[in-house]
Amino acid sequence: MSFPIDSFWLHHKLSTKSTLPLFDSVFAVAVTLLAFSLPDKLHRGGDLGQLLLPILIFEFIGMAILLYWFKFRRLITLARLVTLPQLCLIFLGLLTIVLLPRMAELVLRYGGGSGSWSNWTLSQTVNVNFLVALFLVDGFTLVFALSLRRHRFVLKTSAKEIGISIRAQLAGFLLLCVLATMELILPWFNDEFIIVVPFVLLLEEILVARQFSRGMGARKRDLPGTATKNGQA
């Protein structure tokens, strides 16, 4: 007797509509809690920098989280129906995202000191932990995107879009690898990655947009005003 594997997995499938509310809420809580990495107390006689610098760092990390939200959300929407392994990837991504506010607080407090692989300091530990968390979110997003290539429920028209997203994400992942290596090897490269990471993610999005505008050509999309009578955009 064969085991009805399809019906078994079917029980663990979720539609995008059911997944997204939790996904959105977790990201919303993570972004809002990120602001709690700002200092609780202000010092007398201190300059503007004591509040301005943490706000700037909050802006950079917040931007990175919002970009991850946009990127991951787009992939979930393309999936239409999420299978159990994909659900696991989403949950792992959410668990990692929730870690980021606390990691950011630690980076803000201790990340400024120098350190490297040979000279392991507290700031090095904190910075590496934050980078690992980012690495994991990026990795889970990439694996999720790769899983969509053989996903039965993806529309045929979305296949090229997924391919472009994967290529851009791979480029971003490689840049993150370079950042991680720099953090491990170079003693002068410490919490500077906070400024670089949002730009890497923005670059990814620009890359996706460029490739999409070049490669996709005319394509019928579900947006009003994009399709004409003969189906050409």
């Binding site: 990201f27 201190g46 509040l51 909050f58 917040g62 919002l66 947009a209 999409f212 505008s213 996709m216």
Partner: protein, 224 residues
């Protein structure tokens, strides 16, 4: 228009379309951010009370929470209405909203700092913790207001915006400009006057309520 320019514009539009989001796809995230920010505001009420002055301290912090909460709710209403009418959001609008979301996330922490130090005097020439907290909070309010205004302006050139709503949008922008002017005046007073410290906490909700009333009055006049 030359053919090259037209084709470049077309490809630009196509690349933008890939980053277009339906307004109703963003709204759950937007609502959740405001919900969390509002909940976290209540954490500014002290968890421990000491001595005789505890009543005043507790009352002051609850009062400040109510006023800041009112600001957050009014901002939520204002921006949500604009997102609701836009139907589709392009990259510049998404960037605008992203920054607005980040700014609203700052509010609970800023309110906490204002509650702790806000009553201290100071000006831009004499930076004290109180002055710093007040400047940061007012700048966040100003930034959010500006982003709302830019967002409404962007809607006037929006393809997916219904033409029938143009008059309403003009009224909304007019009311927002008025609120923007008031906020600018408060920023000047906070930055350059020694006597004006955290009094804006009472004024800002009033300005926002007046804005909404103005929109309502103009809208009802339009309907009639």
């Amino acid at each position: 228009m030359s053919l090259a320019l037209a084709s470049r514009r077309m490809s630009f539009n196509r690349s933008l379309r890939h980053h277009t989001l339906r307004a109703d796809a963003l709204l759950p995230f937007f609502d959740a951010i405001f919900a969390v920010a509002l909940t976290l505001l209540a954490f500014n009420v002290p968890e421990m009370l000491h001595g005789d002055a505890s009543h005043t301290h507790l009352f002051r912090s609850i009062f400040a929470y109510c006023l800041t909460g009112l600001i957050v709710i009014l901002y939520w209403f204002k921006l949500r209405r604009l997102i609701g009418v836009s139907r589709f959001l392009h990259v510049p609008q998404l960037l605008c909203l992203g920054q607005a979301i980040l700014t609203i996330c700052l509010f609970p922490k800023m309110a906490n700092l204002v509650l702790l130090y806000g009553s201290e005097g100071g000006s831009i020439f004499q930076i004290t913790p109180g002055q710093l907290a007040n400047m940061a909070y007012l700048s966040a309010l100003f930034l959010f207001n500006s982003l709302c205004l830019i967002f409404s302006w962007s809607l006037t050139t929006h393809h997916y915006y219904k033409k029938s709503n143009q008059a309403t949008l003009r009224h909304v922008i007019g009311a927002q400009l008025l609120g923007f002017g008031f906020l600018l005046a408060m920023i000047f007073a906070e930055f350059f006057s020694d006597n004006f410290n955290n009094e804006y906490i009472f004024l800002v909700p009033l300005v926002l309520i007046v804005e909404e009333l103005l929109v309502a009055v103009q809208f009802s006049g339009l309907r009639r």
